[in-house]
Symmetry: C2
């Protein structure tokens, strides 16, 4: 459950659109007026805003920190939903819906949990003009909404495992600078909540879900992630342990939490009294065994995933959407039609385009034809590039004569020809190639930016060079805090807003303890923790980075 | 957009579960302990609560008016979503997501609209411990959240039609007595919002959607509805006109609004300044035409539909779920296995059950086998009847010998045999028969309860006999109010709570002006309005009834 932060600053954040800034900034070479007018490398914040709004994903809204998800981005969410639903249903997870409101009593039942969320809970205090007798919290996550129900529902070990999931909206009234998809006051997510008889069974599920989360990023969004365990400092409030997938934004060199799967242990089941009789047989002479508090998990993945995808793939021409989640995978644009083209020829061409579209539709390709009158092919090309459609097909009289189409990939320069006779198989294959190439490129970037660092002097320079760092670490929480402090650029303005706008200058925190550890084994206890002030032995290679 | 009420009483409602009442009421004959212990005909409220909770659809929650939708009911909602999404996507409607919070400024922009909703809007006034500078409303419906966006997005007639839909949660902080699914403070729905260049185009869509809504009820939920127009009194606040599907609950004789599709006219587009240049050609000598404010529709259908389905079909054995929306359509229960049955025979039988289940799964039947140990077949039968699974298949050694299964329909008494060789075709056919029979029965009930009444003296007795009445009416709003008053049972306690608990005693209001009018034409202006104090001529046959 990402996006939770313990300390918040109590001032209203400003949305980009609320600053009255001049729209015309440094112009990107070759970009048309409908396009992005600032380069990704020059001003990531402004570029991101333009890519999202001009690409048709998002619109700004008059409540700060809340955004409108337009159909183009919501369709990506629907693809994620379909993919994930299929997999969790096979695991026996059932979808359901719990109320958005949580009573103060329940919200406050698990101490660490409420401490973690109290600062950013939104409260409904009025209905119409009347003050409510008891204000109700808007869910910042649903553990405390669901677990009284678990206590009622689970009467015997036969009721286990109980595996529920819901797709819902979540509200966290953060006072940090908001960023569409990445940090917003309302977001969409799924949250799974399960109860098991044993820790073993719970732990197995935690990792199954983590694999599915990695699948959503790597297989659907073409975004590489690193799987690992959160340190004590960074785990979910109330969890026994938190597993995570961590992403990386090359443009800023910052890590980003991408999805988390928690084992809650018995922390909540003890607070909410969720228990069953021990089903193991009592041997002769043995006393009756005490009841077992169930072992619980919770896991969540949010619309943040869409923001990570955009930040990873998109460029100065606009969005780049991976084919598997693009609601339009292929757009066909008629070309070579001029004022001199006869109505008959035009009609023939359009008919051929319809036929090509039909062939593709029958091959399960999501295709659209752009027959808009009054726009030049060039304008249309820019428009679809801005929207990030993975493949453009151009079709004109010359193509018709050659019985081929001209194909232009969104992710690479250049064009190629595809024979019409082969289009039903060639286009799906090409889409899969685009998907694979997007992932390979992003993976190469992330791999190159994960530096194994064994000397403190190299740590901050590596961060400054937009890397995340694998360092030998003692796993101490105070040491972690100290590393954060030592790696912050003190001589710069360090407000949160400045971080978002420019190169990151905040300190590095631990992203995760990667499951895949470097070859150099630390278990011998020979290696020192990287923090020069620490003095402890390193226990694990831990991934540190500046982060979102 | 159902469930809106103009006048509310300012006291906190009580949920059934909050009254500490004795659980053991009048026992239904033959019901097992796990079953319903009060008859539908004796105490509908208590029966409804038991059917929902014991049938596994719903659980109570500690915030009044909010309920937990368990997987068994949420799956019905998912079936509705799939069915409706498929149809609206063909109409060019796109799914999206708008924020749950609405600024006070926007909420108040359309006068009638805000008057209709103000009394039941929930307000967030605090984030963490800080008071918000500006409280935000939790959406009671999203017209005012969406239409500033429409104004930005629609620049030219080429941007029309704009057709958006969202699946979301809605909050209306009602102070009336809540009823699960039927009237709750939070509910789930879809809301469609569209903009068109012409009234004609908008009006066409209004009715297309109304047809889909009728389809959800009649084809999926097997619940008959009457299509019609709302009177001025009952239309959506801010609408030009409201079309509706109206259902009927035989057990109480009350009508129930089941889904509404509104033409908003230009009321909102004028307030939110959503306009385009007139695209029709300007003739020589003509002045430039003024811009056109777009014509808008909005339409919504809620989880109330699930409650209507339950009230319609379920009985004293529990839920009855129509096959098309049942997440488990068929359950197979092994029978005839005793302590004497050899392990080998048992294994053989279970293997055969697995094969039958596979065959059904391959025929796209949603099937489950109940192999739970330690429960008798009789107990399992009751359990699945309580849950409302449409078809139970029993399979034991005798069935195996006959190479047939024993099938028991949930909706009818008696059992039948189906040869295993035919099961892949016979069961899907039988499920469709069950679906059709459920609808036919409910339709016969509704048809019989729609009385055409032409004398005032017959009106209240017909209502008291659990009918809804088609009456000649002048369409005057004050006359409508008067009919409501005249038809209330004054000599009884008439609090809202009493209405819910017992036979309805509130006055009748207009449900709709049915599109299908009786043969007797009123256009001649010969017939008097039914209200004896009115004196006006009747204009239409209007369906009046006591209602939810």
């Amino acid at each position: 459950m990402p996006e939770r932060k313990k300390d918040t600053k109590r001032k209203e954040p400003k949305d980009k659109q609320q600053k009255q800034k001049p729209m015309q900034k440094k112009k990107v070479e070759g970009a048309a007026l409908i396009g992005i007018d600032v380069a990704k490398e020059d001003d990531l914040g402004e570029w991101y805003q333009q890519v999202l709004t001009k690409g048709g994903m998002l619109a700004y809204y008059d409540v700060a920190g809340c955004y409108i998800l337009k159909p183009w981005s919501y369709a990506i969410w629907e693809h994620i939903q379909g993919w994930f639903n299929e997999r969790i249903k096979k695991m026996g997870v059932k979808n359901c819906y719990f109320p958005i409101f949580i009573s103060a009593d329940n919200l406050q039942r698990e101490k660490d949990h409420v401490e973690g969320f109290a600062a950013e809970v939104a409260w409904v205090t009025k209905g119409g003009k009347s003050d409510l007798e008891k204000p109700v919290a808007v869910r910042p996550t649903s553990e405390t909404a669901m677990y009284p129900y678990f206590a009622n529902e689970i009467r015997s070990h036969r009721d286990l495992p109980l595996k529920l999931n819901q797709w819902s909206n979540i509200v966290r009234w953060e006072f940090k600078h908001p960023m569409p998809f990445i940090r917003s006051r309302e977001f969409l997510w799924q949250e799974g909540h399960t109860a098991h008889l044993t820790l073993d069974e719970a732990s197995t599920e935690v990792l199954q879900i983590l694999d599915h989360y990695a699948g959503i990023y790597e297989e659907l969004l073409a975004v590489p992630v690193v799987k690992g365990l959160k340190t004590e400092n960074e785990k979910f409030p109330g969890a026994e342990y938190t597993t995570t997938i961590e992403g990386y934004i090359p443009a800023t060199g910052r890590g980003i939490q991408a999805g988390t799967s928690h084992c809650l242990g018995q922390h909540f089941s003890k607070m909410f009294d969720i228990k069953v009789e021990d089903p193991s047989p009592v041997k002769e002479g043995e006393q009756k065994k005490p009841p077992i508090h169930v072992w619980q998990n919770s896991w969540g993945l949010t619309t943040r995933s869409i923001g990570v995808m955009v930040l990873t793939h998109s460029d100065n021409k606009g969005l780049v959407i991976p084919p598997r989640v693009a609601d339009i995978q292929v757009v066909i644009v008629p070309v070579g039609v001029t004022a001199k083209t006869s109505d008959e020829d035009k009609e023939k061409l359009y008919k051929e385009i319809d036929d090509i579209a039909s062939t593709l539709r029958n091959a399960s390709v999501r295709v659209e034809t752009d027959m808009r009158e009054g726009y030049s092919p060039g304008w249309k090309f820019n428009d679809w590039e801005l929207k990030g459609v993975p493949l453009r097909i151009e079709f004109g009289p010359k193509d018709s004569a050659a019985q081929a189409v001209t194909a232009a990939r969104r992710d690479k320069e250049g064009k190629s020809q595809i024979a019409i006779a082969e289009i039903g198989s060639a286009v799906p294959t090409l889409l899969e190639t685009i998907q694979a190439d997007l992932f390979a490129k992003a993976k190469a970037d992330f791999d190159a930016a994960r530096k194994q660092v064994t000397a403190w002097d190299e740590f901050v320079p590596a961060l400054d060079a937009k890397n995340v760092c694998l360092i030998p670490h003692c796993l101490g929480d105070k040491c972690e805090d100290e590393i954060k402090e030592l790696s912050a650029r003190k001589n710069q303005e360090t407000t949160e807003e400045a971080h978002d706008a420019r190169a990151p200058s905040m300190g590095a925190k631990s992203l995760c303890i990667p499951y895949e550890q470097p070859a150099q084994d630390l278990s011998g206890g020979e290696t020192q923790c990287l923090n020069p002030n620490c003095g402890q032995k390193a226990k694990k290679w831990v991934l540190f980075g500046r982060s979102y």
